[in-house]
Structures are given as structure tokens and as C-alpha cells.
Homo-oligomer: 301 residues x 2
Amino acid sequence: MRTVIESVPNISEGRDAESVAAIASAVRAAPGARLLGVSSDSSHNRTVLTLLGDADGIRAGLLALFAAAVPRIDLTRHRGEHPRMGAVDVVPLVPIRGATMEDCVALSRDVGAEIASRHGIPVYLYEDSATSEPRRNLAEIRKGEFEGFGEKMKDPRWKPDFGPEVPHPTAGVVAVGARQPLIAYNINLGTRDLAIAETIAKAIRSIGGGFRYVKAMGVELADRGQVQVSINMTNFKKTPLHRVFECVKSEAERYGVPVVGSEIVGLTPAEALTMAAEHYLRLEKFSGDQVLEMRLLEEGE
Amino acid sequence: MRTVIESVPNISEGRDAESVAAIASAVRAAPGARLLGVSSDSSHNRTVLTLLGDADGIRAGLLALFAAAVPRIDLTRHRGEHPRMGAVDVVPLVPIRGATMEDCVALSRDVGAEIASRHGIPVYLYEDSATSEPRRNLAEIRKGEFEGFGEKMKDPRWKPDFGPEVPHPTAGVVAVGARQPLIAYNINLGTRDLAIAETIAKAIRSIGGGFRYVKAMGVELADRGQVQVSINMTNFKKTPLHRVFECVKSEAERYGVPVVGSEIVGLTPAEALTMAAEHYLRLEKFSGDQVLEMRLLEEGE
């Protein structure tokens, strides 16, 4: 597989295991997409699927997902803690290897147009695919949620990028967009003082004056007697893991608090780790092609 | 590809480009082996090929290599700086992913027996495949080289593991064996004083009292006005890159010399880099399965 794109569609069903299984097996049956994971949260009443494939494979997998999810998920009956606006709520497309952001933007437009025409669902392009600044931000699009969308769409600024100008009666609307890979990265501190984790989280996150591609908050780890700076890295190429790690370490030292460890939750592109190795080992002239396993991916079977 | 084994056979031809090309294309035509690289050295008069595949693919690739190389390379006419004992001189088999050292030992016995029977070449199993202690060490086996092997083999301690008890008249003998991946790793120092690189090399290498899986020497980098500790890492799992890097950095500091950078020459398994990231980022509970691209390799096409 020369080209690797990741898609992590979120669907508004996390309680009915039978529906989730039917949707997952529809995706699995699509040619060229590989379903790596299915993770349901019942309090959110929401499921995240992880798909890998080239552009054609991802397209086929997502179309299969919509075909299976739209008749099975009725948002008029959906209750859950997580805000949502669609049966398939959001479809991120992420370039991993051999694909550019532009390739993913093109794919989002292609898939978006197809979903609108097949299912009559309004589609909003978001993040790198957005056609206007307010649409870059998913939370901004989702504001009002399913119940408020009929009203919201009367405003011409919320005319969708594809599809009808009213929400689908049971499936609502969907956001489709290209974005950078997201890494969930947590740094654990050897103290019980939550205020320290919160202060450091504020210092490193973009809105607090910190790194541009960092979202962070302080979290208590009661069972460990520690606290955690819980981080979303939204662009590890421009704000790399090691820079954030070193910054948190330095801030924590100021309070006499050690960094006990860090953790990557879920998946990460290999490059996020090799960048850390390059930094600390001061590697010169290093290229990802020097990694044996990457050569296997590149040259195809 | 679930199982990945690497083989880096060395053949005693590095000057006749036509012969090298014919041998390489024979390997390329073998089913299931992928030829990643062919690197010839004309002063050594020697070529290193890099193959990846599962056990069957590597076996097919190596048998194709012998079939093409044995009639084309005549050691009675071979001159070169590098010591050699065979037309195909040495065949290392390296477990990379989903294969154990035992799998590679079994493959070395299988391939060795087949080569002996097809070509009448004596085969010595070396390193992890060795059947006696002196045969672990390739240099020990190669002592006497092609010209001296007729005499050497009269000693019953040098009866081969497979094949006749006299060398092949033009192809000599061959060593086949399983070993850990080798990483060529250099650390560059901000000084022109070669003695410092030599002193540090002595300190970190196994025979000088240093790390068990490190071979090292000091080298001058005249064009950069620097010196280098040039290292062969023979088992990066037990002696990892970062430990050697930190040790060299600390030794260099004692002379007021900075570590300017380091470099990995050629290929490396992904794990050698993720181990460095794990160390410096103090990653907890990290598993190679969290690397997206590795998941692709695991699950096959």
C-alpha cells in the first residue's frame, strides 16, 4: 500500500451493540479499506471507527458506513453526553503516508458530494477542507446540535457545502474534512496537587500563550495518587512531542515536581516517535526511508 | 506481510557491473523476496544485497542468488581488500518482525543444507546458528580465506556443517547464520582531536570494558574538522542507541567536547528508534502496535 489515509468517523450510536456490529461489518466488507478498531462509549452513546486505506479504499469504506448507519440511527431518539448533529456525526480524513493534505481535501469533497447525493444529508466541509473561516472549527459547526439545526440552517451563512438546505429528518447533518493526525498524549506528574497540572496545562496550550497545536487540561489520577497534563497534539509535525515534554518537565521542576512518565493513548504515526529519537540523539541526515518496515510499506506487496 | 526476515548476503564481486546486475535480477525474479538494495564496493571487490521477505521468500531469493552467483564468480581470480572465503561469502539472516531468532536459525539450516546439496559448497553455520563456540565468530571461520581453506579443512574441527569436506574449486565455502540486526551508528564530536574519539571508542566497546553489544573505533572527519566515534551496534535491544549516545556525551563532556550529532548509516528496524523515544519521553505502557504503519504490516494486505 503506497498511500495511507486514515479516517476516524464518529457515529451517534454507542449502546446498541447489534447496530454497531452491523455497521462495522458493512465497513469491513468494503473493498480496499481496513477497519483497525471500533470503540464505543455508552455514556456518550457514540462509536469511533478507525479505517486505513488509500483514497479509493477509504471512499468505499465511508460510503458503506453511511449506507449501513443512516437507516439504523435515528437522532430524534438519540440521547448521550457528547454533543452531536448527525447519525454519522463527523468524518475526519488524515494523511498518514504518501498522501498530502490536498489529497485528503479532494477526497473530502468527493465523499461529501456523494453522501449528499445518495442520502440527502447536508454536508459541511471542516478544518483544512473548510470553505470559510468559521467552518474550520468543528465545535462552531456543531453548535445547536441536531435539535437546533433546522433553525440554524435558515441563516444563509450556514448553507451547507453539499446537499439540501434542511437537515435530514433522522440523520441530521455531517461534517467531513481533512485534518492533521491527532495524538492523545498525557504527561504524568509526581504530585497530588491538581492545581499544578492545571497551571502547566494553561501554560502550554495555545489559548494560554503556549504551543500553537496543543490543547491541554489538568486531570487527577486518583488511583495513582498523581496528576496528569492531558494533551491533544493537533499537529505533531509543527509542535512535536519532545518539545512539549521538555516544556512540561521544565515547568514542573519549578514546583519541585518530577515528570513520572508520559503516555500515548491509541495510535500514532511512526514519524511522531522518530522525530523524538532524532531530536534527542541529534540525528543528522536521517530519513524515514532508513526504517526497514517503512520500506516494506512503500514498495507495496 | 506478517513475518519479516532480512538477509544481507555478501558476494565477492564488486567490480563487474554486468555480473552484479545479472545476480540482482535473478534475486528480484524470485517469488516472495523483495530486494531493497544492492551496494558494491570496488576496492573491496564485494557487493552487499539487502533482501526482505518471509521465510519462504528469503529462501527462494537466496537460492536464486547462489544459482546466479556461483557460475559467475571465480575466486581463483578474485582480488580485493576485504577478506573472503566464498563466491557468496556470508549469508546473515535477521529476524525483524513476527519472526524469532529460532525461526532464523531453522531457516539457516534449511538454506545451508540446500546450498550444499545443489552446489557442492561446504556450509558453516555461524553466530546464533553456530554448532560450536568457535564458529559463532565469522572472522574465526574466515581465517585462512579462500586460498587457505583446502588446508584448513583437513583439521576435523573445521568439518563443515553441510556439504563436502573440501572447498568448492571456484566458489570456496560459505557462512550462513542467524543474527540480530546490526545498526551502523556514528556519533560526531566537536573537536579535531582524534585521540579523544579513540579514547571514547575504547571506553564504550565491549572489549575495552564497555557495552556488551558495541564495537567502536575513532575516525577522523577531515572535511568537517571533526572526529567521530564509529559504532557497530550488534544488539540494539540489549544495548540501545540512547544508552550509548548518553555515555558518549558524558565521556566527551569530561574533555569539554560537545556531541555535534549522530547518524544512522543505512537501514534500522523501527524499534531502535521507538526505544529512544520511549526512553526520553518516559513513555509508559507503550506498544509497537500503537504505531499506525506497523498495524498495516501486521494485518497483511
